[in-house]
Subunit: 259 residues, 2 copies
């Protein structure tokens, strides 16, 4: 049974996609079978692995609407062990279609049902969520075992954490009691600014046991990588951010008790 | 009749809130009567002006659901000429409630109707949109005269522009033919990186006539300002980013033929 993690935070631009892509890549490089699932209509995870979201079909949209089985949408990538369930812009329409379902539980459990047949084929299934707490993200939370929360080292990124925690609690209480907060990870840390340090201290104060003991430094190499269609840890393997993503991945694997 | 602009881009973290807040502040400082409307459940524009979104009531949520008239939710701020129609986290629930309305046009025209009584009291109404192309943003597009698109100087920020343009075209064709693209503005430009220059060139190539002829430089002073509850142009008036926001505001006012 593959472990399933979702990278979620409704604050935009905090590094959800970059973290999901690089953790997936690091795990695959160490021999794990990983499926990255793009659950964002922006399809940035799909682009980051070199595919054109406008040309992928079937994608997660067809899977969510039961037009295709999940396995039919899975694609292999250039990297051994790393597979992708891509998104396309049509995913923006899925929310309205799911909202129209008569049964409230069916609306939020659709992704979990559609992914169930896939779980045994992978060691990890990693979900990249959109910047919202709407139906797509709730589907992702219901389908995951744990939540990994990237937190940008910016003041405005602090604000939304309580709303996110409330949503996780709501999902635990209503449909998925075993969902856990796997951890928070500080991203785009700039050691030259006081702000980064202040935000890091604040997050540590509120989440002392759930904050991964590292920071992902700001590094332009990370933001260049998507234009080459490859994960930052392959594009610039010796960059400080790449080293930090490998450390984060080791901590996730160790915490899971994976050999 | 006040002019209405929406700051929209579904890509997260590109500077929508920062741009809306600083343009609103600059206009108010030059004597215009400005209403900033926070249409994002994250309520970052509300926080950026020093209010606590969890304590504001009524907010835009009650206005959208016809529980309170817009005027009742408007608050004055510390700065003369600058008023705020705040958001609160409850706004996240508005989408589901609007979606339940039987008439498709009523769903997307709600904000426009609710703001109509306000227009004469202000020179400008500026709307800060959430990072999505869902019902809230479509309501904002239907209520606006023009769209201002902040574009972060990052590769992934380029990807989503075509989806945004398609959504604007859809709104023009279905409900609001007079909606215009007022302009794009490059944000968080870092002149030390090749990436910023490449993205700027790419945006200029695709939108030569609609790109405002300036860049908003990356500046930590801008991201510190929200923690003090004040716009960056007041918190750090001599910073390069503050100067750039004043220039942007001048260009908007000049283009509107406003004395
Ligand atoms: N460590 C880093 N250093 C520098 N830039 C980074 C870093 N991590 C991510 N970025 C860049 O910051 C931007 C935002 O990151 P990303 O797109 O991963 O965030 P996100 O939370 O997935 O955004 P969205 O909310 O739109 O889904 C991207 O342009 C990305 O390339
Ligand atoms: N010129 C700038 N220089 C440095 N930091 C900036 C600048 N403009 C904005 N920021 C910071 O970048 C982050 C993202 O900006 P902002 O929140 O305004 O974007 P947004 O598009 O409104 O995000 P969302 O998609 O979550 O609504 C914030 O922490 C903000 O303080
Ligand atoms: Mg993303
Ligand atoms: Mg915002």
């Amino acid at each position: 049974m593959g472990r399933r993690y979702i990278f979620a935070n409704q604050k935009g631009g905090v590094g959800k996609t970059t973290t999901a892509v690089n953790v997936a890549a690091a795990m695959a490089a160490w021999g794990f079978r990983v499926l990255l699932i793009d659950l964002d209509p922006q399809s940035n995870a799909t682009t980051s692995l070199g595919l054109d979201p406008r040309r992928v079909s079937p994608s997660i949209y067809e899977v969510m609407l039961e037009l295709a089985p999940a396995q039919a949408a899975v694609r292999s990538t250039r990297w051994k062990g790393l597979s992708l369930l891509p998104a396309s812009p049509s995913l923006a329409g899925a929310t309205v279609e799911l909202q129209a379902l008569p049964d409230a539980r069916a609306r939020v459990l659709r992704l979990r049902e559609r992914l169930a047949p896939l779980s045994d084929g992978y060691d990890y299934l990693l979900i990249d969520a959109p910047p919202s707490l709407g139906l797509l993200t709730v589907n992702g939370l219901a389908a995951a075992d744990g939540v990994i929360v990237p937190v940008q080292c910016e003041y405005l990124a602090l604000e939304g954490l309580s709303q996110l925690m409330q949503t996780i609690t709501m999902v635990q209480r209503s449909i998925h009691p075993r969902l856990v907060l796997r951890g928070l990870v500080l991203t785009m840390y700039d050691r030259r600014t006081v702000l980064s340090r202040q935000v890091a201290e604040e997050v540590h104060r509120h989440f002392p046991r759930q904050l991964f003991p590292l920071v992902i430094p700001r590094s332009v190499r990370m933001s260049e990588a998507p234009s080459f269609g490859e994960p930052g840890i392959f594009y610039a393997p010796r960059s400080p951010a790449a080293r930090a993503y490998r450390k984060l991945t080791r901590l996730i694997l160790l915490g899971d008790g994976v050999p």
